[in-house]
């Protein structure tokens, strides 16, 4: 079991190693996503700098300031009237790139006032760092406004993937001209991976017949179950804890229930937030939740460690074991709940996708059902795993009696491991 845990732990850490920058370590890539509303234009502007330009960029202080500077190289005219982009939000992440060098992904959210009452022709150009090699992409979508003349969807997924067809040239779009007029908008999808996957969910939820409905619920259950079966988050920790401490079958159910509730709640809250506002970048929220979840696990580990050390000390004195049982009981239950919370805190992206898709189609309640089913699936897997471990331990526990002195170390070891995994999770989330 320990070997298994160590392997899993290793996998978790390995998973955090970032891949090389997709284009080259010299490029600075630009994406401008315009969303035209009846009263305004919102612009998401992403600048993805590879390793070397990031190193070179020594003047960077903070994202908001940079976004304000960046606005100067944006030029937009709506029928002779110049649009002024005000920074609404700014965010920067620095994913590690090649050889551990940082890269930089700056996301600026701007708003410009633009009433679309009749037909309006808009030109938009971006000359930021115009000499640097890199991709340049501009998309335009309408929200309750019909737009035509420019692509609506990012083919680079907002500079996350770069099409590499040898027979088409890299995108180098620095300006667009489009016409906006009142009318039906482009289907609103959150941008990015979420947006892409939401479309899948839209496909799923869109034509809701009873068969499709039941199918969707079942699919969500399966997705949840398989998500939980993958190594990651607090699940393994929980398993270790159940195996190492003297967990009962009830404990296994408790963990399952906690995970389901936390996860469903988490997804609902985040999903609703995301659908209400595009300000919150999905990824950064997930990252902070990841950090929180890791820290929570670490804290639980710490608490467990303390109690394990104490009870072991007492055992030495009492030459017996059994006394410590009652003492640690409340602690343990709290620990289990905490573990469940940690396990459910980071909403699974696929569950989020399902929910957002449903919201986009005006079937929010069905989405909630699906998310709940997803959580149930997760809980089922976790509980099953817990039950399996508990029964395994009960069956083989007696044979292990002669290894009692090792067994004494088990709570201590697991507690330490739990803490370590927690720290690992938090670090990984931070780095990502």
């Amino acid at each position: 079991m320990r070997v298994f845990l160590l392997v899993v732990f290793g996998m978790l850490l390995m998973g955090g190693v970032a891949q090389a920058h997709p284009l080259s370590n010299l490029s600075v890539n630009h994406y401008d996503g315009l969303r035209v509303f009846p009263d305004r234009v919102e612009l998401r502007s992403v600048v993805d700098s590879a390793e070397i330009p990031t190193l070179q960029d020594r003047d960077f202080v903070d994202a908001r300031k940079r976004c304000a500077e960046r606005a100067k190289s944006l030029n937009a005219m709506a029928d002779e009237q110049e649009l002024r982009f005000e920074v609404r939000d700014a965010d920067v992440v620095r994913p590690p790139g090649e050889a551990g060098l940082p890269t930089m992904r700056l996301t600026c959210e701007y708003t410009a006032f633009l009433p679309v009452r009749g037909e309006v022709e808009v030109t938009f150009s971006d000359s930021y760092l115009k000499d640097k090699p890199g991709w340049r992409e501009i998309t335009v979508a309408g929200v309750d406004v019909a737009v035509s003349g420019a692509p609506a969807e990012s083919i680079t997924n907002e500079l996350r993937t770069y099409p590499s067809d040898l027979l088409s040239s890299p995108l180098d779009v620095r300006a667009v001209r489009f016409v906006a007029k009142p009318g039906e908008g482009t289907v609103i999808t959150p941008p990015g991976v979420l947006g892409e996957a939401t479309k899948a969910a839209v496909g799923l939820v869109g034509n809701l017949t009873p068969v499709v409905g039941i199918g969707a619920v079942l699919l969500s259950l399966v997705l949840g179950a398989s998500h939980a079966a993958l190594p990651g988050h607090g699940k393994t920790v929980m398993a270790a804890y159940l195996a190492g401490s003297r967990g009962t079958r009830r404990d296994a159910f408790l963990v399952g229930a906690t995970v389901t509730i936390t996860h469903t709640a988490g997804v609902l809250v985040l999903g609703l937030l995301l659908s209400v506002s595009s300000v919150i970048a999905g990824e950064s929220v997930l990252r902070w939740l990841g950090v929180a979840s890791g820290l929570l696990v670490a804290v639980i580990g710490g608490v467990l460690l303390r109690s394990a050390v104490r009870s072991r000390g007492r055992m030495r004195h009492d030459h017996g074991h059994g006394h410590g049982h009652g003492h640690g009981h409340a602690h343990r239950r709290a620990g289990l709940v905490g573990m469940g919370v940690a396990g459910g805190l980071v909403p699974s992206p696929s569950a989020l996708v399902v929910l957002l898709g449903a919201i986009a189609l005006g079937r929010t309640w069905f989405g909630v059902v699906l998310v709940f089913a997803y959580g149930l699936g997760m809980a089922a897997t976790l509980t099953a795993a817990g039950l399996l471990l508990v029964s395994l331990r009960d069956r083989f526990g007696s044979r292990l009696a002669r290894f009692r002195k090792y067994a004494d170390f088990t709570p201590l070891g697991t507690a330490a491991l739990v803490m370590l995994v927690g720290v690992g999770l938090a670090t990984r989330a931070l780095a990502g």
Partner: protein, 471 residues
Amino acid sequence: MPTSNKQRLRRGAIAAAVVAVAAAIPAAQASSHREAPLIAADPAVDNTDVYAFTSPDRPDTVTLVANWFGLQEPNGGPNFYPWATDARYDLNIDADGDAMPEKVFRFTFTTDDRRGGKSPTFLYNNGPVTSINDDNLLFRQNYNLELIEGSKTTPLVRNGRAAPSNTGPASFPNFATIRDQATSKIPGGGQVYVGPSEDSFFLDLRVFDLLYGGNLKEVNQDTLMGYNVNTIAIQVPKTMLALKGDPKRNPVVGVWSDTEKRSLKLEPGRATPQGDFVQVSRLGNPLVNEVVSSAPIKDAFNGLQPVNDAKVQALLDRVNDPELARLIQQIYGIPAPKTPRADLVEIFLTGITTKAGGPIKADLNSQLNNADVDPKKFAPSEMLRLNMSTPVTKDPNRLGVLGGDLQGFPNGRRLADDVVDIEIQAVVGAAQTGKLVPALAKGDRVNKNDVRFGDKFPYVGLPSNRAVNSN
């Protein structure tokens, strides 16, 4: 949709592979070793086409047209297309059939740049140019024309004015005037024009891609529509070209153009590193690189003097067994004629004659048919051959000789001859059988030029002044 699904998935896989490849390439690329251009083209000295025909309005003269610097985009911007000043632009005449020119019309250029030193790349002209001597014209080129006959050199035109590149309607409101002004007289009754023109060649360039692995269904678009070239057109009395000055006894002349450029000598110790003139480009029959030549011999061919053609076995092999015929057989099932292709040897290397034992039973355009040619000195070589005694056809057939119109290609070449279709037909054996191959009758389905040709010298279309992509 299924194919596009597959493509998408495959693209994903490729993307993953690329990430791996990209990661393996070191960052520091531009650096201490100087990376000079490698595949730099030199269009200013690249021959694109040669035409030779009896002038329809002056049948006692012959007009020779040679083009360089293909695919000029007349986009009205700062782009213009000068002649090289370290090169010799030659039109060669071989009337005695020894594959060496008795007469060379040689054009050399000088630049008269009045733009001053301030912004050397900008402003070709400074306002509209209404005449060739307009002060607004800041970048000018002049040429000397000499006639070289063996060791004798006769200057024909000194400091002739080349017409400028047509940089758009705002700069050149009436280019025809300028072209007229850039046409000079030649002593002895000839005239010459040097300057831009709309590319007379018309074809769908894609036809060759397709023959080399596709199908002919997509063609029918003049790929060269709207592009200009640098043209030298010269009209001279037939007596000036014919062997012994007698076009009655010796009506056939061989014609080709070439460009020589001055090289550079590296060896130390010389005062200036000037080198010899080397031949960098050569053109006689149209499409010779596409139809006859091939990548490995293309470079050699451009530097090869016609007198050495017969010594290059690879070239002879290509004429005798053209790849194109085999490709057409593969794609269209039209059987390739038996090899060696003596008919193609006649068309490309000797001229059509009964005197060289070829299969085409006609005496049309070989120097061997000239009364004063010594057959022992005759050397097969690739050049355009014109029988100056063939009368001007009133209603020309675009398929020339194959279409029953003896005045057309391969008997010389008129501006309107559809050489792509003619050569494809010839390659599948139409000259041998005398019958057109119906399956290919439509050819590239571009049958005439997009711009009308003139009916007086220099005949070529006025240079286009609209950006190609704005059509």
